[in-house]
Subunit: 294 residues, 2 copies
Amino acid sequence: MYHPNRTARSLAQQEFHTIAVALPSFTAPFQNELLKGIRAYLRENDQDLLICDLGSSNQEKALHKFLSRGAVRGLLLCGFPIDDKLAGELSALQSPTVLVGYTWPAFDSYIWDDEAGAESAVTHLIENGHHKICMIRSGVDSEIQLSRIQGFRNAMERAGRKFEESSIVAGKPLYHSGFSEEDGYDAMKTILELHPDTTAVFASSDVQAIGAISALNEAGKQMPTDIALVGYDDIKTSRFVGLSSVHQSMQKIGYAAAKKLCERLDGPSSDGPEQVVIEPKLEVRASSDLKRSN
Amino acid sequence: MYHPNRTARSLAQQEFHTIAVALPSFTAPFQNELLKGIRAYLRENDQDLLICDLGSSNQEKALHKFLSRGAVRGLLLCGFPIDDKLAGELSALQSPTVLVGYTWPAFDSYIWDDEAGAESAVTHLIENGHHKICMIRSGVDSEIQLSRIQGFRNAMERAGRKFEESSIVAGKPLYHSGFSEEDGYDAMKTILELHPDTTAVFASSDVQAIGAISALNEAGKQMPTDIALVGYDDIKTSRFVGLSSVHQSMQKIGYAAAKKLCERLDGPSSDGPEQVVIEPKLEVRASSDLKRSN
DNA sequence: CTGTTAGCGCGTTCAC
DNA sequence: GTGAACGCGCTAACAG
């Protein structure tokens, strides 16, 4: 019985029904939400998804290998910092690239305002009476990380609080550039040790917050009674008792980015690159969860 | 500047550096663990992953569309029930297929013993002194679901408990064949209403358990003090206070399945189909978590 | 309406 | 050593 060969067919009719997505650890909750959005669009349009997992280390190498294996038509590059060299290589592919999480003049990009998001989270904690707020950061000085720290600082200073460097703690493991569950766990242990009077913690990623919960559990602390926890990125807050989160609807971003990429593939005669900035939103599980009186 | 064309290259050298995975909702935690294993193998071998998301409804149609778009070399079909018709179609592809979660004589398959897994979970609850145990089931009579119910029944009967049909509750939404978060949430609400004296609940999936946690939170119940919760599938138990789970190391299964598929692609002269049965293991967060005295 | 052929972009082979 | 021709499996265009 006859069955078509996808490869040959694609080659012949120059139609691929496939877009490529490259991202670090596509199984993390944050990227997962993004993928949900991407998949939603692709399903509606009978496209398949070619995934390049950049992993947590040697990301550039993984991306290069992927690209040298041959370009698919269209690349969605997510959560990967771009520089001159990479921008040149991507342009040389002659096939459209859409960026998520980073921006570059030559490409369509979907980014969010980390500084504003972090600020809103910490402001919320302050407004709810928390007198001792710590932050979990990644041990790596990425742009994302620095923006989120800046947001923390802004919130503290605008509220007339003194900003202490020591209240911002990094984990040691440095998996996934320091945004891992292990890093969050490690950082929270340090916080409990160095700042036992802490009433609220703002974590720089969702997985860090999850790791922090483990550390709290081990220490016999309750959330949010003993410590309130807010994480950055796309935690489904309903899943975690007392854990709030600031996020930027990654599903919508994924959908929009996939759509944009497919439009570029269809008609290359469209407009110039578009930069979309998403405003992060703080999602509080229950307003009472973060209230603090003492 | 020159850049290779993946499609043409694949066609020319009959080497694809790609395997296809078809599964329902690849963003659910269970499938996610599986994908982690698959990705681990693929990364080691410089292969990419073509994902066909079967979605939660019209799965057959989605699979057919994917196959008719043209077979890639090698398909990993996960969590999709197989019948005569489908088996014939897959054989006709002339390219190796590996099944995960279901079995069929003609194909390599990786399955697990749902009945034994469910039984071990419920037996554990009984041994820890729970006098009223309910189960959350999917509203659909899949083979998987019936096995898990049978395991529940075995445990109860072997312990000399009376088995009550009414203690097994299904959610109404029926998303993802009834294994969804929403179904778990709905079923748990019913349990709280119908069986307020419940001390432990065994959920048929990880996501159901997550939904059940939401319902418990809303009702002001604590885990595991008020109700102990055990979920089936691959929850990272550390992430959820008091939530244990029975699982079958999906990561290892994914790794093994991907490896098997790639071996089939390399040398078609290997042995006949292999059926691997994984023994599920109960992972208890802390042994004290499930203890009950009253 | 059916059968034949050219060519998609590459790797490989074979001739030079 | 370098270069031209062929074929991977298919679709599209074209001829009968």
